[in-house]
Symmetry: C2
Subunit: 369 residues, 2 copies
């Protein structure tokens, strides 16, 4: 079964996502259409990536009957309206992170997915990297004992990038890159809601956060600290410290290709891109997908039998670790969300970011609607 | 000029301190007496280290007229009473960290030093390591641009150690080891008072903190995050991130022998000990002191001329970086505090720890007196 992709927006991340899809087998994944608000942009994108159809509006893309899934690569202030547009047109949606501007918007997107019986997932690509899958496996086996402290950080000099600093574009360190730190922590703690959230931050003149430290306390005396900044390059590691050892994800924690378990490092290189990428390791958006189709038929059967068995599903995902494959499986089997990056996971991420922003005083126009 | 040391308490840290002193020239530093509450312990200590006089009480040590400086190696609940005892007997005091249980006690110690015109310094040995001195030099030269984020952590499995967990012994992660993280941050930011302090922590049944994350916000949009725990081994690094690069202090940040500046590592090994040590790198308590006496005469002259020129003093210290030498110079020149670890530095450390404990709910009996 081939998945027919529509690409919403012809920007840098959509370019990289399309290159990543090209590392998958063409029998399994095809990009059949692209849409941009400017038809010329869409046409250029279509020509560059050999995409059959180009549209000058997202509405036209939504009307295309031969699309299974839309990848939403717009900036996050547009995620809600665009996501609802496609889901109302019965399209499955893979939407870039953060899923929306705040919890209220995330809940509206989830409600739309449920109403329309379509699949919706926040494109937290990190979570499906082999490194992340291996971490989940190690933690489930108690490889480092009881986890006590998680430290995650993402800092990069981005103050020259309008998207990162302008409030109307959804700027701010937390939503743009801090989300990667929080998602990592929540992955380690299996989506558990923290007992407390504390945030310290500093803001640019534009009113968005240039840097933030968010400390989370979880049950069982477990702590996590997330640091993000758009003013400087941090080491950009994740460290998971347990009573019996340490798991370290060296830079770049959001697209990790290396894992250190008690000092022993293993490499997990991403596929080579066919075209130059805008962002580092972007082909990891479809990691190891070349193996996915081989697993597909048996897995679909598996999930048809075990449609409601989410524990089983999680285990399967741990074994395969290929989000594109998982995505295929989920759509094929009629499941409407991923258990590895579930609706609840997205909602919790948004809830934590809302509270952190409240403490630091970052308010978007979407917060008051 | 020889400095005649008295050692207060015959425990593990006093052992290590005495071994460290032995790496200095005997013409410059001599241990002439040791005191313990149990005379037998003092006598055993004296025999092991060839110390001429052993006392069965701290009071007897205080009465010894042939002592210039007392090293206080007791646990911190005793620092105030013991420190005041020695200072009232006109002894200079080098007191282990934390200087006392809270700000109020620290202020009493400082007042006693001022009243008695004696030298008092909190033994924050880290600050005088060559690595720390080099960091100050690099920062003063703007080597990594404008510092934006400092991350410091110290975690070690210490829950089996009574001193670390019992409230009556001053237990708790923050006072025992978190103090090293905070002092590092304050060193980087030149003793500046933070604009805000936020602490998240978890406590043992004994009522002391097993782990804490303290986030500090400084002027100029600078953030620092300190993590300490007595339940697990953290990476125990310090990272200082600026707009133009990164300084990293690999483990063990409290007694560092290595420094990475923009990825380039330099080693700074500590002197070899003549006896086995209880704690790692303890000879670093007298780092490079073998060179100190050579600098002494000219420096004393220098400081006699520049008694009030603390900027000059700081620069000199940066050049020499030997606390034993600095200590000698300061006593010799009549200065009553170190500018590299000043009374104000100790007071600010205590103030921050008081506030962090208040937020987490760690209260010692000394807090209510």
């Amino acid at each position: 079964m081939v998945i027919r992709w529509g690409i919403c927006s012809a920007g840098k991340i959509s370019h990289d996502f399309t290159v990543a899809l090209k590392t998958l087998r063409a029998e399994d994944h095809q990009v059949v259409a692209v849409a941009a608000r400017d038809l010329k942009h869409a046409q250029e994108f279509a020509q560059r990536h050999s995409v059959p159809r180009a549209y000058g509006s997202y509405e036209d893309l939504a009307k295309d009957p031969e699309i299974d899934v839309v990848y939403v690569g717009t900036i996050h202030p547009h995620h809600l309206s665009v996501g609802v547009l496609f889901m109302n047109a019965q399209k499955n949606v893979l939407c870039e992170k953060p899923l929306a501007m705040n919890l209220k918007e995330v809940q509206e997107l989830i409600a739309s997915a449920q109403k329309n019986h379509v699949f919706l997932m926040e494109a937290v690509w990190t979570r499906f990297f082999p490194v992340s899958v291996e971490i989940s496996r190690l933690l489930s086996r108690g490889e480092v004992g009881e986890v006590k402290v998680v430290r995650a950080e993402f800092g990069a000099p981005l103050t020259h990038v309008p998207r990162a600093v302008r409030k109307d574009l959804g700027g701010g360190a937390l939503l743009d890159i801090g989300v990667y730190c929080l998602q990592f922590v929540l992955m380690v703690f299996n989506g558990e809601k923290p007992e407390s959230i504390q945030a310290t931050g500093v803001c640019l003149d534009t009113g968005v956060d240039e840097a933030m430290v968010v400390t989370l306390k979880f049950s069982g005396h477990r702590l996590a600290v997330c640091t993000c900044t758009i003013t400087a390059e941090l080491p950009n590691e994740v460290v998971i410290v347990g009573t019996k050892g340490t798991i370290k994800v060296p830079a770049h924690m959001w697209c990790p290709t290396s894992l250190m378990v008690n000092g022993v490092e293993t490499q997990y290189p991403v596929p080579e891109p066919a075209l130059p990428l805008n962002f580092i390791n972007s082909t990891g958006m479809c990691y190891e997908a070349e193996e996915g189709p081989a697993l597909l038929p048996s897995q679909v059967q598996n999930y048809t039998i075990n449609t409601h068995n989410f524990t089983h599903l999680r285990q399967k995902q741990v074994v395969t670790g290929r989000w594109a494959c998982v995505f295929t499986v989920l759509c094929g089997a009629g499941l409407k969300e991923s258990s590895r990056m579930s609706h609840a996971d997205s909602a919790l991420l948004a809830e934590i970011m809302d509270e952190a922003r409240r403490q630091v005083g970052v308010v978007y126009s979407q917060d008051s609607l």
